[in-house]
């Protein structure tokens, strides 16, 4: 057993971080945010990350990908979260193992899970394709084994733009058309895998945000002085920061464990009493959502009044954390999945 990230995984994370560092990011005070193109995507950043291979990460090498696993993917997505990268990154990375033509990142793919009753589409104007997870018989809720994956042409969709999405970086459309017409590209197993892997990548992204928020709160607590000393020397503030660190570290351990278990397809255990991969993913999503939302709130609290302002940029993280905690399964849904397995 060696549960530490490997040198290669750290190097991959470093490469993604370097690319993100060359592009403007939302949420950094005193910096211009990115100039988003159609559908809210920073096209230059997307292109650079595509060149690095982040979309084909889990696609086999002979199909044009990097042939890596979930353990590598979560390292990439933690960095995307740190940089608040905006666009259909998760959906495109999920689509590529199913449909290897998306491995290059030349096309942007969205994903919507209609089985959870959602009818909001993100980044619609930037999409080249949309994958939809839906119930086979057109019901709102799919029974296990009764869902499928549909590929839909975005331009053929009837959808109304939401005038003011809470997350200002992610344009939303409300779907006004049902049923959808498209090509069936995956069965129930493929649909389940998409949603499970989506929960894992989203959890990794949330951990990245939770970690960067801890760093920002700590840096501010060291530098901001009140009552004649740095506010970080007060235990009341210090303990907020300690809890932020604990949330991010624990969630990261959960995300890494879920990734390793999902990669580990050995049916015969060595008796090490490993949890089931699906349960581990749900646990990771719950912990990571808590960490991102909790740390965004705590970071704002540590920053005091300025934390509530637009210019401090912390609101971007809170809004993204809220949105992602509703994506690929809310806490209650993942809790139900876990409880069924108990």
């Amino acid at each position: 057993m060696d549960f530490r990230p490997t040198e290669d995984q750290l190097a991959l994370a470093g490469a993604v971080r370097d690319v993100l560092g060359k592009h403007p990011r939302p949420g950094t005070p005193g910096e211009e945010g990115p100039e988003p193109g159609a559908g809210g995507v920073d096209v230059a950043l997307w292109r650079d990350l595509a060149e690095l291979g982040v979309f084909g990460l889990r696609v086999p090498e002979d199909a044009g990908g990097l042939g890596l696993g979930h353990a590598e993917a979560v390292h990439v997505f933690e960095q995307l979260g740190r940089g608040l990268a905006t666009g259909p990154y998760t959906a495109t990375a999920l689509a590529a193992p199913l449909l290897p033509e998306y491995a290059s990142g030349r096309h942007r793919v969205g994903l919507s899970d209609l089985t959870s009753g959602a009818c909001y589409l993100e980044h619609l104007d930037a999409l080249d394709a949309l994958l939809v997870v839906e119930a086979v018989d057109g019901e709102a809720h799919a029974f296990p084994g009764h869902s499928q994956v549909l590929r839909v042409e975005p331009i053929e969709l009837r959808a109304d733009p939401v005038p003011h999405p809470v997350d200002p970086c992610v344009p939303l459309h409300r779907l006004s058309q049902k049923p959808l017409r498209g090509e069936i590209v995956g069965d129930a197993a493929a649909a389940d895998a998409l949603l499970r892997e989506g929960a894992l990548l989203t959890a990794a992204y949330q951990v990245g945000m939770a970690a960067v928020l801890t760093e920002r709160a700590v840096a501010y607590a060291k530098q901001r002085a009140q009552f004649g000393r740095a506010i970080g020397s007060f235990q009341a503030v210090k303990h907020l920061c300690a809890d932020m660190f604990a949330r991010a570290e624990l969630a990261r351990a959960a995300v890494h464990a879920a990734a390793v278990l999902l990669d580990d397809d050995r049916a015969d255990g060595d008796g090490a009493d490993l949890p089931a991969a699906a349960t581990a993913v749900s646990a990771a999503k719950i912990l990571a959502d808590d960490a991102a939302v909790g740390n965004a709130r705590a970071a704002i609290q540590v920053h005091g009044g300025m934390g509530c302002t637009w210019e401090m940029g912390l609101h971007y993280f809170l809004k993204r954390a809220w949105a992602l905690s509703l994506a690929y399964g809310r806490a209650a849904e993942h809790a139900d999945l876990i409880s069924e397995a108990l």
């Binding site: 970080g232 920061c241 464990a257 646990a283 806490a331 409880s339 108990l342």
Partner: protein, 407 residues
């Protein structure tokens, strides 16, 4: 990044499992926890069995009779022992986990020879005399005095110690005393002594916990004469020596506890299904969220142990403070949830033999101490804030007074 055993680790696990399968059925039922002599006999017998099988002092260096096992093997040992329902370390806790490792690191060859093999065999029980009524989280403020007698070959010790577990059956005590001036720098002037528990002048006052268990005592020391030859390390170096063992744990602390908690949660879920509290989605989801928390803590243990085994310096990373903080709180939630699922059943101790072990009402009361013992949750947050995140220390009261301040 992987979680599977290596072939060697798998062999270790299988051998251990086979051994546990043969040996556990030979054990007598656990004695009442209030019957101290029976407990000592039971725990020492178990330790002797471990010793014969080569599992005693698993993580101790081979040259001191240990097995020199890696942190991962230690983790496997704790996992498998817990899964098999093997006895806990019990009254050997201080000797095996604290005093023994300290003696290995700091004692003289004669002292080691005298104590280490006996601790490993389960023949020698130790207790700890660190905390005092006025020195808890601020341990370095301890005031138990040790002065050299006229001949210069004995310390004469007077003071009070508290939370002295298993003192009734202990043969020796690892004792921290103040040899320096009472108003000197508090981390200096502390000395580490081996005190034989049959020395005249030691009085024990039992200190019953809220759950009714009797493992703790207050220990009153009046002119207790301890040979200078029983001093470990130099006079005044006791604080450093007392801290040495914290690195010895290597991330494996609480492993049994996590395994236990994950199993207990499955039992709570089964009980909830049986008595229909499972129909309450709030209860069901609280169970699930705690399961998520313990799965994450399990992953964090694996991360900590991996860092101790392969990382620089061989010490666990920052994860251990995070683990302690989150585990102890989750453990309390677990026991509360269990009580909620049991309803009014939780008002009765269901334990006629007073073994306490696993009895939910008792565990619920015992878990009160989790956020206090071995560094309170508040101290853990200070450690994370100051040592890991680099936040400035709160100015100490003495520093504020020296500045002519005061508030």
């Amino acid at each position: 990044m992987q979680l599977r055993d290596t072939p060697a680790q798998q062999r270790f696990r299988e051998d251990l499992r086979a051994w546990l399968r043969t040996v556990l059925p030979t054990l007598d039922p656990q004695p009442s926890q209030d019957d101290w002599q029976a407990r000592r006999a039971y725990d020492s017998h178990w330790q002797a069995l471990l010793h014969q099988a080569g599992y005693a002092g698993l993580n101790w260096p081979a040259e001191y009779g240990g097995r020199g096992a890696t942190p991962t093997e230690h983790l496997i040992f704790l996992e498998e022992s817990e899964l098999a329902g093997a006895p806990y370390v019990g009254v050997n806790f201080v000797g095996l986990l604290h005093a023994g490792p300290t003696l290995i690191a700091e004692a003289s060859p004669e002292q080691r020879e005298r104590h280490i093999p006996a601790i490993l065999r389960g023949d020698e029980i130790w207790c700890q005399g660190f905390s005092e009524p006025d020195a808890g989280s601020d341990l370095a403020a301890l005031r138990t005095r040790a002065v050299l007698d006229r001949t210069g070959d004995h310390y004469v010790v007077t003071g009070r110690k508290i939370w002295t577990s298993h003192a009734e059956v202990a043969d020796f005590c690892e004792l921290l005393v103040r040899t320096g001036p009472p108003d000197g720098p508090k981390h200096q002037g502390i000395t580490w002594l081996i005190m034989a528990m049959d020395t005249p002048g030691i009085t024990l006052r039992p200190l019953m916990t809220a759950g009714g268990s009797t493992e703790f005592s207050e220990m009153i020391l009046e002119d207790v004469r301890i040979p200078v030859a029983n001093r470990v390390g130099a006079e005044g170096d006791g604080w450093r020596i007392a801290m040495v063992t914290f690195a010895f744990e290597r991330g494996t602390g609480f492993v049994s506890e996590v395994v236990w908690a994950r199993r207990r949660l499955a039992e709570i879920a089964a009980l909830a299904r049986e008595n229909a509290t499972w129909e309450d989605s709030e209860i069901r989801r609280r169970i699930a969220r705690l399961a998520a928390e313990f799965d994450a803590l399990w992953a964090l243990v694996k991360r900590n142990v991996s860092e101790a085994e392969h990382g620089a310096g061989g010490v666990p990373g920052p994860g251990s403070s995070v683990f302690k903080l989150r585990f102890s709180e989750a453990r309390q939630h677990l026991d509360d949830l269990h009580a909620e699922v049991r309803g009014r059943e939780a008002l009765a101790f269901d334990d006629e033999h007073f073994t306490y072990d696993g009895e939910p009402g008792y565990e619920r009361l015992r878990s009160l101490a989790y956020t206090i013992a071995a560094g309170t949750s508040q101290v853990q947050r200070n450690i994370i804030g100051e040592r890991i995140l680099g936040l400035p220390k709160e100015p100490s009261a003495t520093a504020a007074a020296a500045k002519g301040g005061g508030r």
